[in-house]
Amino acid sequence: MKRAFFIISIIFVAMMYIVPYTWLSGRAGIETFAFWTLTAAAYFVIAFLFLRRL
């Protein structure tokens, strides 16, 4: 469980850095705001589920 959460966390945190500065780089509009919000919200849900099984 702890290893799975570690791997998922690394992937999500890496996405927070990589995606806005590559795929979304320079793209005007709501996309970057939406990406960061949805990624953080999804991570929170995952963290919540892992916490319940801690």
């Binding site: 927070m16 500065y21 919000t37």
Partner: protein, 478 residues
Amino acid sequence: MDSLSTYLAIAIFIAAGTTIAWASKRFLKKEAKDFYTAGGRFGTVLASFSYAATTYSAFMFIGLVGLSYASGVGTLGFELVYFMGTLFLLYYIAPKYWLLHKKFGFISPAEVMSERYGSRSVGAVVTLISLVALIPYSTSQIIGVAFAAEGASGGAVPFTSAVLIAVVVALLWSIIAGIWSVGWTDVFQGLIMIMAGVAVLIWAFVWGTQQVAFDIAKLGSLTYVPNQFWTFQNFVNMTLPWFFFAITNPQVVQRLFAPKSERAQRGMITWFGVYGLFFTLLVVTLGLLLSGFTAGGIFPVIAYRDSVTPTLLGMMPFWLSTLGLVAVIAASVSTIDGIILTLSSMAARDLFRAFLSKGKQGAEVLVGRLTIGILALLCTAFALSRPGFIVDLAVLSSSLLLPQAPVVIGMFAWKRGGKWAASSAVISGFAAAVIMYLLKASPLGIPSNVWTIVVASAVYVAVALVEKAAIDHEFFEG
């Protein structure tokens, strides 16, 4: 808003908070452990609000609104990296701290390090660095209140008066019943912060969109990264200390001792997540919205970004402006009192008790209270000099604390390392952070905070590999 109305609103807030703080005295037992950690008796609600209100501060209401107004959506990424880092680290670290508190009765984060690394000198080094590093952060809270009071009252409440009010209230609420008065006033303040934040955002949206259509296209480079402010290098530099905030800032680490059960601790992390995500979106949206209204010509162009929220408060109707001001005071006070309480516990336990006293409980609490007073004076003096932007001061504090990250992680995850590894890592990382801050240097184009954590980690690992490990199996098993 005139000065009399503003002072009246502040007086009502202080009276309500002081009543709550005083009422919380009935929970306090006369021992140092209970004064600083509640003896591990906080339920989910108290623990959650206390953690959230200690974390989210004037930095959010003043600093982050201004930063998103001036620099755009990168601010959201910056704060959400903190949010995710905190959830990630708490998942692993929080249960360990909680168990150690239950088993050994630790009251300060530095005390845990002293035990693990086998020397009280480790705790002393960490305490001295924390005392220095957290002055800019505490100061940023006080400045936030002063700016908000100036803005909301149209200058009728001067900067100096607001600074003194914030410091005296924080001092009062931390001394009355320690963590109990801090915790219960955090609940009160946390509720005010979220209610005021929602009300201010709704008012700003309705007020603005009645006059001009919000057009996201007018925000231009504020809607994406990289832009002039949020280069990748700057994003990494600012988020790195923020990512590790939950394990390097003693005022939040100490909160991990407070829950009464593992269930309450899990609840604390979960509700902190709900509060944090909502609050972050709220303040960043407000900043971007106001930037859009500036582009639309209805909100003034603000050159000094910490003045954005105070300017907005000055434009609002009396009742909302008052609520907004009280919320900023609440956000600041709930953080300052937490910081000075934690630092006082470290001074009392990791300096005074470890080196000077012979286990006298009364003297320890007295030293803690004296430290609270001295810290309040130092922060007041620093705030009155108006040293810089709120976000910059907050990040500076976390940069100076960043070298503790490898030492804390190694403390639980690696059985090597003793007092020399821990002390040398913290000192060398702190020195690197100070030097690069003073020289404004980023050697080889690599962000200064990356250098700080690399230096601290490399020194820690190198010394730990040659040093005889201070292994305490009972400690690791918790």
